[in-house]
């Protein structure tokens, strides 16, 4: 039995492509547009969302039988915001410059629909271990799209990758990609490509 056949792998891989939060579920668009001017910021955002999603899912799954049904949104939010505050403090200690650039978007992980969506849809009816894996898969799927947008925007908009110049000298930077409309256009192009590949592979649109 290979690794790709286990149930754990299936749960993890689901979020990467088949159930990608940005392409299919259209969740968490805010941050995918706002923090993708630099690859570094996008990666930090991915770490933050992964941290929040994995632990929220695991904790929610662990106490799912005790969570009162009427207040479950409140419970999710409390767990998530506690985790996000912890992440925010960690970030401020280790990478103060990045934390400043991200501004309020770290705090907005709380209302990132991915976190709450996974708690509601998956963690409430699964074991902690599987829920954590599911959270990791979904947030990795989200992170990959984030990184793709960030690479596009940083390489063509700034001519650099992770701060080091990669384009040939005399390259005219494309300012549009760095500004706000560029973010929308990048995501549109990626969405187009994803739909195209999906259709070409015969998966059909959902």
């Amino acid at each position: 039995m290979s690794l790709t056949n286990t149930q754990a792998w299936k749960v993890f891989a689901e979020g990467l492509w088949k159930n990608n939060p940005i392409f299919i579920m259209v969740l968490g668009i805010c941050s995918s547009l706002a923090v993708t001017t630099f690859v570094k910021n996008a990666f930090v955002m991915y770490l933050g969302v992964a941290f929040a999603t994995v632990f929220t899912s695991a904790i929610v799954a662990a106490i799912r039988k005790r969570i009162p049904a009427t207040y479950r949104m409140l419970v999710f939010m409390m767990i998530t915001s506690t985790l996000v505050i912890v992440f925010d403090r960690l970030l401020k200690l280790t990478l103060p410059a990045v934390s400043k650039e991200m501004g309020p978007y770290v705090g907005l992980i709380i209302t990132n629909c991915i976190v709450m969506g996974r708690s509601e849809a998956f963690a409430m009816s699964n074991t902690p271990w599987l829920s954590a894996l599911d959270g990791l898969g979904v947030s990795t799927g989200y992170g990959l799209v984030l990184l793709a947008i960030a690479v596009l925007r940083e390489v063509f908009g700034m001519g650099t990758l992770l701060g080091t110049p990669v384009m040939p000298g005399g390259y005219q930077r494309c300012g549009l990609l760095i500004s706000a409309p560029g973010a929308f256009l990048c995501l549109t192009v990626l969405l187009f490509l994803a739909n195209f590949i999906r259709e070409a592979r015969g998966e059909g649109k959902k």
Partner: protein, 262 residues
């Protein structure tokens, strides 16, 4: 909505005249953020004060409720509605922006609800932050307290509107529960703290942000209304088309930049 806005402005005037008057007379622009047009005026007026160093004498720190620069409120208002539109420049509130903009009526309901809730919660959060969290040194609880305030106010509002204004509830009651997880509301509160607004600035900022979001979603809904008459590329899908439209709108809104600066 309209009434509360008028009340806000009126109360702002009264409060601002009290503690704010010395600042107006002292001729020192405590906030250097003014629109470019008025900049020369302040340049001319400041060096004329005779005393050499106004370090200790004329340093009146305005209270949190003072309006020492009414012009700034106007600048904040226009900046948050047009140049720094929360949806198109900061990408906040995107999920609802894309999901609920299929139909202008729904978009209007959601926009009105967001404007109302954003304004109310930002005011409540400002008061909580300024009078409870900061004095006690509990700034780290900001995220947690803000989101709980938002959830509580939304819940309360839903009950209140359902009980006393049934027609209003029918119009935008169903959008209220959705708002708790709408980033616009929390984002406004976070921006407000980050930019260190005083009370009336925060109030104007939050209502204007809500209005800006409403403007954006209404415009997008209007554009999407006309989509059946054209054929966007097939692989773009519905969401892709909406994103493309939002990108074009963001470009158009970029044209406002330079008008006012926040």
């Amino acid at each position: 909505m309209k009434n509360s806005f008028l009340l806000t402005l009126l109360a702002g005037l009264i409060c601002g005249l009290g503690p704010g008057a010395p600042c107006l007379l002292a001729n020192t622009p405590t906030m250097p953020i003014t629109p470019p047009i008025t900049a020369p005026a302040s340049v001319i007026s400041t060096p004329t004060s005779a005393t050499p160093a106004p370090a200790t004498s004329s340093h009146v720190t305005p209270g949190p409720f003072a309006i020492d620069d009414p012009m700034r409120l106007l600048v904040i208002f226009f900046a948050s509605v047009l140049t720094n539109n929360i949806a198109l420049a900061y990408f906040i509130g995107m999920c609802a922006f894309l999901a609920l903009s299929k139909n202008t009526k729904v978009a209007f309901g959601m926009g009105a609800a967001v404007t109302f809730v954003t304004g109310l919660t930002a005011m409540a959060n400002w008061l909580l932050n300024h009078f409870v969290l900061v004095p006690l040194g509990l700034e780290s609880f900001q995220f947690l307290v803000f989101i709980l305030t938002i959830a509580t106010i939304v819940q309360f509002l839903e009950l209140f509107i359902d009980r006393y204004f049934p027609p209003l509830y029918e119009a935008f009651g169903i959008f209220l529960p959705l708002i708790t997880v709408n980033c616009t509301v929390l984002g406004t509160s976070l921006f407000m703290v980050l930019r260190q607004y005083r009370f009336w600035e925060a109030t104007v900022f939050s209502f204007a942000t809500g209005l800006g979001w409403m403007l954006a979603i209404l415009l997008l809904a209007g554009l999407r209304h006309h989509l059946p008459f054209c054929r966007p590329p097939r692989y773009l899908g519905e969401i892709g088309t909406a994103l493309l439209l939002a990108g074009l709108m963001a470009m158009a809104f970029n044209g406002f930049s330079g008008m006012v600066k926040l």
